[in-house]
């Protein structure tokens, strides 16, 4: 069989290993000259090799000077992993190729050297690539670049990191017009959308779909002990999970949050009588510690790793034969991708177990299993390219050197997400970068970018380039503080906790990090100092981690399931729990609206089961809290899932019907939205990416006197004096993207009519309990609640101190 696409060295190498290239690997070779190809293949299908084969073939045929192929992945660890996995075949084939990675972890010396003398293959991240393109010598660095491979493109395409990457690719394409693009993706619901983002607009992008292999072997873990009503720890399942670990070679145990991973790891360790080697891995742990776990894993020294999304993406770590997902998988696509971690042998079914943490999650898991069997992948489409990312791109472009606005607009429009960008929108972004873009023209003397007589835009002060680069990136990290063991000269680093968590600690408090209990000793120069402490029950470090929403599709499945009379897939304890809900309250029904009201933890709670999807439930939360504030019910916050909204405040709601009056709902909604915490959060993100707020770099933060002030002040100021400013437009667009058209709420309410059932219970109900654990709580900026709480507390403080007579 003649295969002219493969040079003899590679053909020999395959033959020597007794391998045949997979059909999709051949297909990638055949299309080596296509401008853009998207490969969709399951993990373990030799996807990475398929991406690199055309590069290796090219380099085997003729030596190449300088950079040949750029590989971009969303994870630093993935870049390091690929370097290792690529080195072996390259050495065995005997190709004289330099392969290097360049990420946030790369030292300055190496980075400088890489700019002066780039390797043949450079493995990097979107952020590092954006930085590379911002240097004046970018044209020289990328001279001769032939191919770019974007790995895990499905994950990147969901976020602003992807938008930034595709803008950087447009830049590269201008520098290297013949650049070929390759995207590697796991199974996705809308391959055409990803292809349109990946390709240079309007180039075509061919999609190659590899054999997806057999369906995964996936089921729910059976335990003797029933799970609790609520809670995310799944401690009840520890013995059963440990039993599974013993029966398999290597098990990955995924959790939805870092805090849950920490608690689970500790419980697993306490029950680990045989001292099986088990590790923990998540994004808040110190780099050294993560590397140790990663290398132990590669050597096959570990029987299990308790982990989070930090291991989510296609790390190719040999012998994993079981994946356990603790907690509801929330969205089916993610579940399928996680399962792909197990059993990396192509054409062998992946084995996975779901461990629901509470009984509601059992109901969710059953629905998720149905969805996997039905190949019903979920996902929401993304809107047009975000303009805050465009602003950052304009600044990074300026950092590389003077540019022509027309050329830049043309280039930006070759990015799929920005193909429809209007000239006016582009100019508003450019004006923002140059002058701040305010209605009040205050800054003409000091504008950041200036149009010089040559017609090109220059940085007014070339030194600004450094600060623009410092601020590059689109990842929104909440401020983190390093945690170290207290020693004479700086003890061992353990990881990071969020600043807001650190602020709640006082000396003597204990918390979990990296699977051990430590005692808080104090804060020194922005480092949390701790000592070892095994005695006391820990508080739990609150890591916000990734927020997952159950997909709309999944929640509709759940509501349909709840109407069933018999439900054999459910364990007896969960059926008993459902009937308890029926007994204490009611089960939600499609043509009625169930509302529960109960006191809990010193607050009054209202739980509305709309099953309208997270976005609509979120909108409902905003509307209802506004109505409650107007009627003096002092709401304080709410949280939404796809099936319900939980609102808490100071007063109980006894008559919900006026709250749901359609005519009243719309009035003043815009004003309420504008003052909402949700908007302020979006503003902070957009303002940071667009370069209005500088990222907090720990070295720069001053201790003592706070020189900085809250971004909320900037938001409030713009709202008052410049409500149509670009950043306000972006903020509204972003916040509203998550909020569904008011029409959906109208539909729900007109369908339900007056069939609103308010059930008052003395305490939390079976169905409402899991909502208390949900991430993404929105606090309501309620004047009335805040004033009443302050009055209460200040009166008490004055009484206690004997000063109230003052």
């Amino acid at each position: 069989m003649a295969q002219p696409a493969l040079p003899p060295e590679l053909e020999t190498w395959f033959a020597r290993r007794g391998w045949q290239p997979h059909p999709h690997q051949r297909a990638m070779l055949d299309r080596a000259n296509a401008p853009c190809v998207l490969l969709i293949a399951p993990t373990g299908g030799g996807k990475t090799m398929a991406g690199f084969l055309p590069t290796l073939a090219d380099l085997a045929r003729a030596p190449h000077a300088g950079l040949h192929t750029l590989y971009v992945s969303p994870l630093k660890a993935l870049a390091a992993d690929i370097k290792r996995n690529l080195r072996t075949p390259v050495d065995e084939i005997g190709l004289p190729i330099r392969i290097e990675d360049r990420t946030g972890d790369t030292s300055n010396t190496v980075r400088k050297r890489q700019r002066a003398d780039p390797p043949h293959i450079l493995l990097t991240t979107p952020e590092s690539l954006a930085l590379l393109t911002s240097y004046p010598d970018a044209p020289r660095i990328f001279a001769g670049l032939k191919r770019v491979i974007v790995d895990e493109v499905h994950a990147l395409a969901e976020s602003k990191r992807g938008d930034q990457l595709f803008l950087a690719l447009a830049r590269l394409q201008t520098l290297c017009p013949d650049l070929r693009r390759v995207g590697l993706s796991a199974t996705i619901d809308r391959p055409d959308d990803i292809a349109a983002l990946l390709a240079r607009h309007p180039d075509p992008c061919e999609i190659i779909t590899a054999d997806p292999g057999p369906d995964p072997d996936i089921s729910m873990l059976e335990t003797d002990t029933p799970p609790p009503w609520s809670g995310g720890g799944a401690a009840y399942a520890i013995p059963a999970v440990l039993e599974q670990v013993k029966q398999h070679k290597t098990t990955l145990i995924f959790h939805n949050t870092r805090a849950q991973a920490e608690i689970f790891f500790r419980n697993l360790w306490l029950a680990n009588d045989e001292s099986l080697p088990i590790g923990i891995h998540h994004g808040s742990l110190d780099r050294e510690q993560r590397h140790r776990v990663e290398s132990a894993m590669v050597r096959g020294d570990l029987r299990a790793i308790v982990c989070t999304g930090s291991l989510d993406l296609g790390l190719d770590w040999g012998d994993v034969d079981l994946v356990i997902q603790v907690g509801a998988p929330k969205n089916v696509k993610r579940l399928v991708q996680r399962i792909g971690r197990a059993n990396h042998r192509y054409n062998a079914p992946s084995k996975a177990l779901l461990v629901p943490a509470n009984r509601w999650e059992i109901v969710e898991c059953v629905a998720a299993l149905q969805a996997v069997r039905d190949h019903d992948l979920d996902g929401d489409p993304r809107g047009p390219g975000p303009r805050d990312v465009l602003c950052q791109h304009i600044l990074l472009t300026a950092a590389a050197g003077p540019f022509d606005a027309d050329d830049l607009l043309r280039e930006v429009r070759t990015v799929g997400a920005f193909a429809d960008l209007s000239r006016a929108e582009f100019e508003a972004c450019l004006d923002f970068c140059a002058t701040g873009g305010y209605a009040l023209r205050a800054y003409d003397r000091w504008q950041r970018l200036q149009r010089r007589p040559d017609g090109r835009w220059h940085l007014r002060d070339p030194r600004a380039a450094a600060s623009i680069r410092m601020n590059a990136g689109t990842i929104q990290d909440s401020d983190r503080l390093k945690v170290r063991l207290r020693r004479a000269r700086g003890g061992k680093p353990l990881g990071e906790v969020e600043e807001s968590f650190a602020a709640t600690l006082s000396a003597g408090d204990t918390f979990l990090i990296g699977g051990r209990i430590v005692r808080y000793e104090g804060l020194r120069e922005l480092t949390v100092e701790v000592s070892r402490n095994a005695s006391r029950k820990p508080r739990i470090a609150v890591f916000s981690g990734t927020k997952f929403a159950t997909s709309t599709q999944l929640s509709q499945r759940i509501l349909r399931n709840l109407q069933r009379n018999d439900w054999p897939e459910l364990p007896a304890h969960t059926l008993a729990w459902l009937s308890l809900q029926r007994q204490m309250s009611r089960l939600p029904e499609p043509d009625r609206l169930l509302i529960e009201s109960f006191p809990h933890d010193g607050r009054e709670n209202l739980c509305i089961y709309g099953f309208a999807g997270r976005n609509a439930q979120q909108t409902l939360g905003l509307i209802l809290t506004k109505r409650m504030e107007e009627t003096g019910l002092a709401p304080m916050g709410f949280v939404s899932t796809d099936y319900a909204t939980l609102i808490w405040g100071l007063d109980a709601v006894s008559d919900p019907k006026p709250l749901f009056d359609l005519n009243g709902m719309r009035d003043g909604l815009d004003g309420w939205l504008a003052g909402n915490a949700l908007m302020k959060r979006s503003f902070r993100g957009a303002a940071t990416i667009a370069g209005l707020i500088e990222r907090n770099s720990p070295g720069k933060r001053k201790s003592g006197r706070q020189a900085t002030f809250s971004s909320d002040i900037l938001y409030d100021t713009l709202r008052k004096y410049d409500p149509d400013h670009l950043l306000m437009q972006i903020t509204r667009q972003e916040a509203l993207r998550g909020l569904v058209d008011f029409g959906r709420i109208q539909d729900l309410l007109s369908r339900v009519g007056t069939r609103i059932d308010l059930v008052r219970t003395p305490h939390v109900t079976p169905f409402s309990a899991p909502l208390f654990l949900e991430m993404g709580k929105v606090s309501v900026q309620s004047g009335s609640a805040e004033e009443r709480l302050l009055a209460e507390e200040t009166d008490a403080l004055m009484r206690q101190s004997g000063l109230s007579a003052m």
Binding site: T435, G436, Y438, L440, A442, Y443, W446, Q447, R448, D461, R463, A464, S467, G602, R603, M636, G691, L692, I693, E694, G704, R705, Q706, A707, T708, F709, S710, I713, L714, T717, L718, K720, Y721, D722, H725, S779, G783, E786, E787, L789, L790, A791, E792, E793, T794, L797, M798, S801, L803, M806
Partner: protein, 220 residues
């Protein structure tokens, strides 16, 4: 008037929810740390182009207090401008606005650490202003009494049963009052910070600014 009353060295004072301090007997209004022109200063020094509305916002709030109190004397306790250049490059409309506010009343600019030199604006420029039994200066001095100062931008955090609430605040004891920053673009220093804990007596109290100003023992 929406305020909390207390006395210092025998003078009856009212802490306003805005962050201004009112001495009714003297018809004297004190505000501190206006930091006018901060956005421009940040940009000039290579920072971001912040929304250039903080001067306007600060002056609007000052004007409200003047209307409410009809003060005969205004004392700005220093750091009125973010730096001398900010005072020099003040927009003409803002300059006229300040002139309008000054009309018919005595106006004292106390020197701050940000704006030490004389400014090209009406009013009296002083390092400090003695007005027995009180004395007005920018930075508190240990061992003084009857002292009214600013500089530190104090704020306090109150842990209520459901939520922690942080507000700019006045700090006072039998020797002194430290005013919160009045300017729109100003951060704050927690009252628990060493420098404030050392400066203030153990029995010191704080008055939180806001819709209804409220007094509590100073958190430390």
């Amino acid at each position: 008037m929406n305020g909390v009353q207390f006395s210092l060295a025998g003078a009856a004072l009212t802490a306003l929810g805005s962050g201004g301090l009112w001495w009714a007997d003297q018809r004297l209004l004190v505000v501190s740390d206006l930091h006018l022109g901060k956005a421009g200063r940040v940009l000039r020094q290579g920072g971001a182009a912040l929304p250039p509305y903080e001067t306007r916002d600060t002056l609007i709030r000052l004007e409200n207090d003047l209307r409410m109190t009809n003060a005969g004397t205004v004392v700005c306790l220093g750091d009125s401008f973010d730096d001398p250049e900010a005072a020099r490059t003040l927009a003409e409309s803002d300059r006229l606005w300040i002139n309008r506010l000054q009309a018919g009343r005595r106006w004292v600019w106390i020197e701050g650490n940000h704006d030490p030199g004389p400014m090209d604006l009406g009013g009296t420029h002083l390092a400090e202003l003695p007005r027995p039994p009180l004395v007005f200066r920018h930075i508190a001095q240990a061992g003084q009494s009857g002292e009214i100062s600013g500089h530190y931008h104090p704020k306090v955090r109150v842990q209520t049963r459901l939520r922690a609430i942080s507000r700019p605040a006045f700090l006072f004891d039998s020797d002194r009052v430290i005013l919160p920053a009045f300017g729109t673009y100003t951060g704050g220093l927690r009252s628990t910070d060493d420098v404030l804990s050392t400066l203030m007596r153990p029995e010191a109290r704080a008055i939180l600014t806001g819709q209804t100003p409220r007094m509590i023992p100073m958190p430390r």
